[in-house]
Point group: C2
Chain length 656, copies 2
């Protein structure tokens, strides 16, 4: 078949594609990431591009496409390559920025300006996290990694002691480890005879001992020092973070983070499931994207740590939500999405790196954190492990992880209840007209003059404004309410005497930044529809917390600590979040930011078999509350669609 060339500007990357392919896919082939929260459905409008030369064919007519066309823009996902070669410019607003990943030493390490570091440390309250880099990643667990070298000196074979090599090894290993269930793969058995005789029956065995079963991963002659590293990966829907660990020392060698390349199939897990299930080769593409993402991180780490080789990484731990775990392992995720929302597995088999194409030692075992339900995944279990909420002496605590979904865990020691509320990705910027992730140029804080309604704002990295990130949205919501621009139900007061208040194409909107001051040459606004979306998101989280408390018969006052986890949580302004009714009205000192607790739990589990056993225990004892059963959640949700809430007695300290 003939191909056409598509050149993407400003990068100038040219790619050959077959006619009929859309520009979003073509950009993917060129390794250029274009925003596509809707997964290429043509509904979000975020993948707008400018066709500078050549003509593309529209997949179908749509209101959105027509509106954009008036501005000289085309939806990449709806524009098909036809007869002509194309030159396509990707405006800044459509390109994926270098994402600010929630890894402390990336955010705070080299390549970050002093000003930004100061900003992050102060404004985002990252000081604690910065300290954590120098904390013990074991968090009190003993160093006993999921993979370790065991040195054996066996009695030499003789005519009098003529046991076979395998029995000799197994008996010797049993004495050393007390483990009776020992498995040695055929590949190692094939050369065992030679291996154990190189240094006269002295050998080193790489062993992974978990749950009373020992898997032999490698056998080397003699008792030489063998390098031993592991990778712990937090597979987030948006962001993927890898920690390179020295398993001998129990330390973090380095970390790296990037955005999840699956983003081109949609921003949220649902779009990715739909893509995986409905598209030809969809499952393969979505699976391969996350493998590629992780391989890139590993390569980045190895480029920085030149003394460590791919083959020195002998084990891998991953934590991710249930959909991410399914897609990572290549398990059909379809039933996660369909009622009654059943994952194929909550506890996952240990697989070899080579089965997945992960570029570490091919025989490295890959562990996945167990999940609890379709929407309470291994990332939450890992976070719970990190908080020690499942330990016998734990006080009543609440763990909240607000991302695309809002997941929460309430409990103390023996009991843990958990739920997930579809908060929607509003706080991650999706579904909000000018919403964006916490990247360069995102509006992060604002002040609105109550008299003049003039706006002053701060952006991340002091960039010219591109949009509004989650923190900015929460701050904005609080300020819109405080200045009376919206009422408690989120309705816009359209009579206000300011040109910033106006009726846009889809209803009332308030202009935060005039086009001339932006990087995108468009007015940045918050619309009434945006506010409704934000209220639904914050309402769902709050209603989830209330439901968990109701189930176990507790009040807010019973909670000793609220752990706020996750990428968004980390940038959250607690007083703002309480003010809009997103978080319960508890003293600020009860709130603890724990950052990427999923990654931290993954590090702990990789470094300590005891922590990994605890993770299994935590996953096993979590009771999942399905919010769509019964009316309890829905009643709470409806009451939470106000600022801060219908029942103001729940927010005695809030005065908006």
């Amino acid at each position: 078949m003939d191909t056409r060339s598509v050149t993407f500007l400003p990068a100038g990357v040219k790619v050959a594609v077959e006619p009929g392919i859309d520009l979003l896919t073509a950009a993917g082939k060129a390794n250029i990431e274009i925003k596509a929260p809707c997964g290429g459905d043509g509904t979000c409008g975020k993948c707008a591009v400018i066709i500078k030369s050549g003509k593309a064919k529209a997949r179908r007519e749509s209101y959105l496409a027509t509106r954009l066309a008036e501005k000289g823009l085309n939806l990449a996902c709806q524009s098909l390559v036809e007869d002509e070669d194309l030159v396509v410019e990707i405006p800044k607003i459509s390109a994926m920025g270098k994402h600010q990943v929630l890894v402390e030493n990336v955010a705070l390490g080299e390549g970050v300006s002093d000003a930004l570091r100061e900003y992050l440390l102060n404004v985002w309250q990252l000081k604690d996290l910065f300290k954590q880099k120098h904390e013990d990643p074991l968090h009190g667990y003993p160093l006993n990694p999921l993979c370790r070298w065991v040195q054996l000196t066996m009695p030499a074979a003789s005519l009098q002691d003529n046991r076979d090599d395998l029995s000799r090894l197994v008996l010797s290993l049993r004495k050393e480890t007390k483990c009776t269930d020992i498995n040695i793969p055929l590949s190692l058995l094939r050369k065992l005879g030679d291996t154990i005789r190189v240094e006269n029956f002295k050998i080193s065995i790489l062993l992974s001992e978990v749950g009373g079963k020992a898997e032999v991963i490698a056998i080397e002659p003699g008792h030489r020092h063998q390098p031993l590293y592991g990778i712990a990966v937090d597979i987030g829907t948006t962001t993927v973070v890898a920690y390179l660990l020295d398993l001998r020392k129990g330390t973090i060698v380095d970390t790296a983070g990037t955005h999840n390349r699956q983003a081109r199939f949609g921003d949220d897990v649902i779009s990715r499931i739909v893509y995986a299930v409905d598209e030809p080769d969809g499952m393969k593409d979505v699976h391969q994207s996350i493998i590629d993402t992780i391989n890139t991180l590993i390569q980045d780490l190895l480029v920085k740590q030149r003394k460590i080789n791919e083959a020195d990484i002998r084990v891998m731990m991953t934590a991710g939500n249930t959909t991410m775990a399914h897609l990572f392992l290549g398990i059909n995720p379809q039933y996660i999405r369909l009622e009654p929302y059943i994952p194929t597995a909550n506890f996952f088999p240990v697989v070899k790196a080579q089965e997945l194409g992960i570029r570490v030692h091919p025989d490295a075992p890959v562990f996945c954190f167990p999940a609890v339900a379709s929407y309470v995944g291994g990332d939450i279990v890992s976070g719970t492990l990190f908080t020690a909420m499942g330990k016998a002496d734990a006080q009543v605590s609440l763990l909240i992880d607000i991302g695309t979904n809002g997941e929460m865990v309430l409990g103390a020691g023996d009991w843990l209840v958990t739920c997930s509320c579809s908060a929607g990705p509003a706080f991650e910027g999706s579904g909000i007209t000018f919403g964006m992730r916490a990247m360069h140029g995102a509006i992060e804080h604002m002040q609105i003059n109550p008299e003049t309604y003039e706006v002053s704002y701060a952006t991340i990295n002091n960039g010219r404004p591109l949009g509004i990130c989650g923190t900015g949205l929460i701050d904005g919501l609080a300020k819109l309410r405080r200045t009376g621009i919206i009422d408690r139900a989120g309705k816009f007061q359209t009579h206000l005497p300011t040109p910033r208040m106006r009726i846009g194409e889809v209803g009332p909107e308030f202009v935060l930044v005039w086009a001339a001051d932006t990087e995108i040459d468009r007015d940045i606004v918050i619309s009434e529809a945006d506010v409704k979306n934000l209220l639904r998101a914050k309402g769902a989280v709050f209603a989830g917390i209330r439901t968990l408390l109701n189930v176990v018969g507790f009040e807010f006052g019973s909670i000793e600590t609220v752990y706020v986890a996750g990428g968004f949580g980390n940038y959250l302004n607690i007083p703002d979040a309480i003010a809009i009714g997103l978080l319960p009205d508890l003293p600020v000192e009860k709130y603890k930011f724990i950052g990427n607790s999923s990654a931290k739990g993954a590090c702990m589990a990789l470094l300590s078999a005891e922590a990994w056993a605890e993770a299994q225990d935590v996953a096993g004892k979590m009771t999942y509350i399905e919010l769509s059963v019964g009316n309890m959640f829905m009643d709470e949700f409806i009451s939470s669609l106000f600022i801060p809430h219908t029942d103001l007695t729940l927010f005695p300290n809030v005065d908006l």
Copy 2:
């Protein structure tokens, strides 16, 4: 690189090879099997060929090569392709015949003439074996195959019962099987969600449950009837036999046998180990040869059983000696051969058919019978299982398997002792001037007139004589002694007045058949060196038996049953064997031919998990007696180098 062509006659097969390659290897490439008991060392002289056109280069000068050259013959293994294309004729004596395999219904089935069938039934006492084909292959064990379909009806998932699919399946399976250790591979997990929903949570699971562990091999929707077949293979050094079993009915569907294609690397296990270890790609070649051999058998069976497909064969059981098991699994066999004779493994891991390239269902588990020592292998354990010698109520019995080695087991229930004596392959025709396997044209019985020394003989299939098979050799030895041609020590009485007694190139020899009456145009003789070889072979077996008895302090009289196993044992004339001192002087009715007990045990174990468990138990409790430790065996051996023995009181009923 330029290649030369070698054309092999009479088949007319042409093959292109690189200069420097020897004709034995070239024949292998052309899939033509030439005898090479020494493995291509140039010492056995069995691979003689006639170069009809072109000139080959001699690898090196040797007495044997020179002798053969005088007769217009070249050793294939020592003749290297050089500059010229060659045309090479393979004389009948050097070609591998269509081997008479010890499978009852091949030997007695279609394609066998009535005369031969009658002959086999009567002369070779095969009537019992013929009957066995219609016997229950389970031999009293319950039908409980190593692989079976389990039908499950699980409660359907709902919002109230929202366990993950895997937990649902595992819990349901636990109830059904009582097994707690259940493993499901990632490949099945990947599509589990779809599979269990096709028929609303009704599924069929293909399970292999062994030793308290259950391995899920396949999952199909619904409760349809699923075909289920298994293959049991006896991997002999010489002969490989496969049984196709219906695992639902517990019956033998069909059998097939052929020679082990590894024969081109040598007749005995030592030559094959040497080839595997010393030659470039040797291990790969030797391993692949047995895989190819087995695949050919499977294809033969499937061609005959058209309703059964490759993928319907879901499990495989193999029994073979320790070297065969190592080579089959691709495990380095080197240390089996080197003192102190240590196998890499006696108990082998279960592997998947696809790992080995066996052409049945790729996920079929492949089991290997456990071995006891380097020279007491899974074939002996399987045979012991078949005899039921390891059962609690067993009487004292002796199992003898005479092949290249002589392996024997003595015991009753709780105790079993075993040893292996290197009888050498004399009884299989190797190391004997005109020795050959039991094939068409082999001299099988003879009479020598005590007055005239004229010889009358019978050959297998009434073919013109090509050589002498094992039975013929034992019969010959008895007759040579009875007529006084040799003395009790095997020394030839060279003064006898007959032209048949003469001094050949290597010493005294006796002509059995004059050249004119043979198929090979050479006098067929037994030499004094042949007789010495035979005495060493029979002496080793007898000394082994004596040593086992000595170790446990028993006499011949204690033995209730002597089980005679194996290909050679099956054709054995017991009175002859007692007469030359190969077997103990016990009443003939105590001897039981059990045929290919290794294959029969393999069938039992495949059809019954209880039999397989018993096999593990038998292998575990066998005490291996290393004959090279101490003087006991050597003393017995020296005493056994006479006909029948130094101590005639051991053979009260023998009068030679």
